[in-house]
Symmetry: D2
């Protein structure tokens, strides 16, 4: 069968013919796989921890949705079921054993398509039931390719709701309608974050340092998410009008970190998600802001199976109403390997169609 | 009466004669006042937000213990009671109204001896009962001057215990005995932090970039607190042996922040307390560490009345057993104004005796 | 205009002609009002705390959805907006001032249609914007009459999620799919509770002491909610197969309380909602079970504005997919006053249509 | 060596000569063992779940303090160390594996002196290091016999502090000084509960249905704990003056449960500890109170190793200041077996001296 492979950590991508060994489990025909920054970084040889499962070659792909084609008497799934596979597989640490490998204590895990385990950019794959999450509503077959990036946001929401318990962190009418959430970064992850916190009832401001493309602008307007192009309007000016009560960094640059700590409100909640900052860092002093304002800054990586389930529920419940299909801006053939290197005008999420 | 005054924000200190107006309330004879970095900064004209209560002159002093000399029929206190006054006075925001002005939302508060309210470096002062905390055990009269710096640590402990609820953050025998807490900074605040987390059952490592003085070394050894002089042994070497599960920064320098985020364990808890870093910051990238390790970083400033009470309880319960009287290394007359500018060999906490 | 009134606490219902005074605010044409057990109890003179707003007569009705017909320059709402009014209005206590009158500390509140404030069973009413919640999706105009009973469930969910933080209360794959929730009571509230916890990913068992009617059975089957008729199968037998990890009592009888404490699992979570038990209580000993199993039992009454918003979101997201329109089993004219006394075969929620 | 044994579940006590097999581990000379209601119930044949470790005979005793007499190269303890052994030993469930066997999910544990494991009423015993907690301060050698009953209170405090996060559950000055805690039951456990919550800063009222003995009265007065004899003053009268904000039941009778639910304040916290109520229950309806007041009722049994540590810290810190030695009202020889059946005038805690 076809598979998109790379030689980590050196990089490169090619469409190969590979044999699926006779592993036992549930056989899944890949429907769509999404491409994200991590895939591009592996392909470009920039992700040092990328490593093969065996031999030298790694099958790429961690965002996927597929259809069960064969089950081995496993009651949990039947032929035709739409499923999303889980990326990170637990190791032996306590948090992994509790089912929370997203909080792995020792780094002893593998991640499909990234490190130590082949990914899903291939015609089909075989999987254990425990690493599959079912999509009940076949009407979101395509949209379900967003489950994997969206599960990260569900974990962020879990942390956010936890941190709110520190003090009565809500408006005087009990809702979050007076609270402004600034989301830095307008890639797929940034937009998904904005979508989820908007649905939670907050006033959300998407922040970017360049003018936003039409696709993104339309998406934000359809969902009544505010936006700010800091090349046109300064952040602190907007903050003066709409206080920054919370923030998510989906960029990963130190100057965004500083913009957040400088501008965030007292008792603010900042969630850190971005790690791929390509901007040079400068001399920053952020501690006084963090301390004097009692700011909580919490890093969030990955998500657990519960978050995949919540992501699927979110897509079923709000996918249509919040126009999330507009986030998928391009569908490509497996042969179109330039998706790993070229950036289309207006692209948000590009996917590869396997069936 | 005598009072130590400054002209903020310009600075300077002198021993003045001032009149206590005929305010109604509880009259307290000052017993001891402590001197901390903030006092020195105000005296040196380095604290921009320092400001007088009225006129141009501000009476210094926010760490104090005194004895009630006159009450106005207030049942809560009687003549002879030992009391500690509260520094920060609430404004009108929601958190202030809840009694948690340490989480003030809008900065609309005053702080005795710092901004907008005269402090306690004077022979006596008049106070409302609600801003006084009683010391039941007169045996800790002197030690009670540590209440104010210690209340900051009690708030940190509150945050620490809250953050531990995120995941099962304890050893496999339910205690904290396998958890290492690194405390950066060996001033009074750093030592109090180490003392409290040691008492909580953690293995505590005090970190400094210079050899530690004998007073500090003795204090740490008496309390079985580990120490690390990073000019003699590298931090990451110690961390390899004793993982950094949690950390408190009581320095306030960005390179300490980076040392923490670089070295802290997955799911680590970092409490930020220091703001007065005088070291130049460099080019730092800390985000990948924060995100990939799910690190929680929370700033903590000030403390509420409950933390004053807890601090007094701590001094009563552990002051003697943990040799905390050794933290007070010098007792001075109000006339000895050089305490604000000179640093004695081996000094930890210097206090001024008023009675 | 027409209004359904009663003379509390004596009871009785009649359709009256009343004048709406010239109060200022937002004018709303009532679309539907729901009838619940509380309305019937007031009508039957059984609710002692029922009391009029002024005079002797009280307009009934606290479950409502309406359409804005007139606004007074209030930007928050415009003509044609679909809105749900809030029942409980805050008093002066701290929790009320925080917007959480559902946690009122002193009972000093009024509730529309129940105590101290006229309700919504009338052709139109005038309301302040802060007590209205907007329904964005006009497609759920009818369904929105379920907002008020559903908001109670949203508060229960808030408590449930909070209590889960006590220990790692989830399955070894991080989800709730292995956890069984038993819901006692098959009235509207019981069914809404089952619906919400099913959507949360739990295995839900509806428990009743009589055979269930066809409407209810169909609703449960459509939503894959299990059911148990304890006149046909004993509870403890079912529990042996599917442990009772959590429970909600929507009945209010002491024998249900005992059934829960007897059968619930260690570390179980029991939410108490029912108060209208009409069964005689007997001699019960429940304490050993509660203690030895570390059971958490928490009462939950009412909900805050945030829960109205969440309820509307739930209806928009899941109303159709979970067949919630089937919960409305009868639509009546205001003249049909027998809805307060007669019980139709198969009835779940009956509503009165005003427009 | 000597040992006090019983034949469970039938009961009886005798002083036997037993052989300590050659088990490896740390050898401890028993110093004191306490006698509690559970011991008496086992002796009286009333505790159905009591069972031997092997054969038919069980060595009694779960409250103990001893001195290490022999170690097997175990660095954690050395000869002469004062230690308290842990009662409940973990099974294989998830909570046991996390070190929280006090939250055991499946009941698969043993408890020394109670079920499946010999206890400490013998001249010496051999133990694994992981089930011993060290008492650093030899000055509380006798007092440390209270560690085991006190650890139950430390777990209750953990639950109490957790439940307080539900809403801002503190006074308007941030402390607990305005909050009244009613403790039902004046046995050792009840008095320890009162002591701990008093130290936490609450106003504590001890409640009993009979006049209190002089020993108890003196203890309460010394610690400024209020008391109420409900044979002389009705509970609801006291509650009218001092609202019942929280309560602990250390009796275990249903009428106490009803007194709590009837009288507790809105948003009240009730901790259930007692299980040995001997009073007949009557017809009770408690649900309306629980629901309408949002009451949280949580059972608490046992405690984890962390709570033993906290108990020892409490005894070291407050044992002397709070006169806790007065709780030990009688010291007996192992031969005095009537301690299991007779009740001395004024007795609180009786202990057996082994060395």
């Amino acid at each position: 069968m076809r598979a998109i492979t790379t030689i980590p950590p050196g990089g490169g991508v090619k469409l190969s013919q590979v044999n699926e060994g006779s592993s036992s489990g549930i056989r899944i025909k890949t429907h769509l796989t999404g491409i994200c920054g991590t895939d591009k970084e592996i392909a470009a040889g920039k992700l040092k921890f990328a490593r093969p499962e065996v031999g030298q070659s790694l099958i790429l792909g961690h965002e996927a949705v597929g259809i069960v084609s064969e089950t081995s008497d496993d009651a949990a799934f039947k032929e035709g079921d739409v499923v999303v596979p889980i990326v990170r597989r637990p190791g032996k640490c306590r948090m992994c054993q509790l089912g929370r490998q997203d909080y792995c204590e020792d780094g002893d895990f593998v991640e499909a398509g990234i490190r130590g385990k082949n990914g899903f950019m291939r015609d089909e794959f075989v999987e254990n039931a425990e690493y599959l999450v079912k999509v009940d509503n076949a009407g979101i077959l395509d949209l379900a390719v967003l489950t994997e990036p969206l599960k990260n946001v569900m974990k962020m929401k879990e942390i956010f709701q936890f941190l709110r318990l520190r003090i009565p962190w809500y408006c005087s009418d009990s809702t979050l309608s007076c609270k402004n959430m600034y989301v830095f970064g307008t890639g797929t992850e940034g937009l998904l974050i904005s979508t989820v916190f908007k649905e939670l009832g907050m006033n959300v401001v998407e922040v970017n340092r360049h003018p936003l493309g039409e696709n993104v602008l339309n998406y934000l307007e359809n969902n009544k998410i505010e936006y700010l192009d800091t090349s046109a309007e300064k952040l602190d000016r907007r903050v003066k009008e709409f206080s920054m009560d919370a923030a998510v960094d989906a960029v990963g640059a130190m100057d965004v970190f500083k913009e957040i700590t400088d501008n965030i409100n007292s008792n603010g909640i900042a969630l850190m998600f971005g790690t791929s900052g390509q901007l040079p860092s400068s001399n920053y002093e952020v501690l006084e802001s963090i301390v004097d304002k009692n700011v909580a800054i919490v890093g969030s990586v990955d998500g657990a199976k519960i978050h995949y389930s919540e992501a699927i529920n979110f897509l079923e419940a709000h996918g249509k109403g919040m126009h999330m299909e507009k986030l998928i801006t391009g569908k490509y053939e497996p042969e179109d390997l330039k998706v790993f290197t070229e950036r289309e005008k207006g692209e948000i999420k590009k996917v590869i169609a396997w069936s």
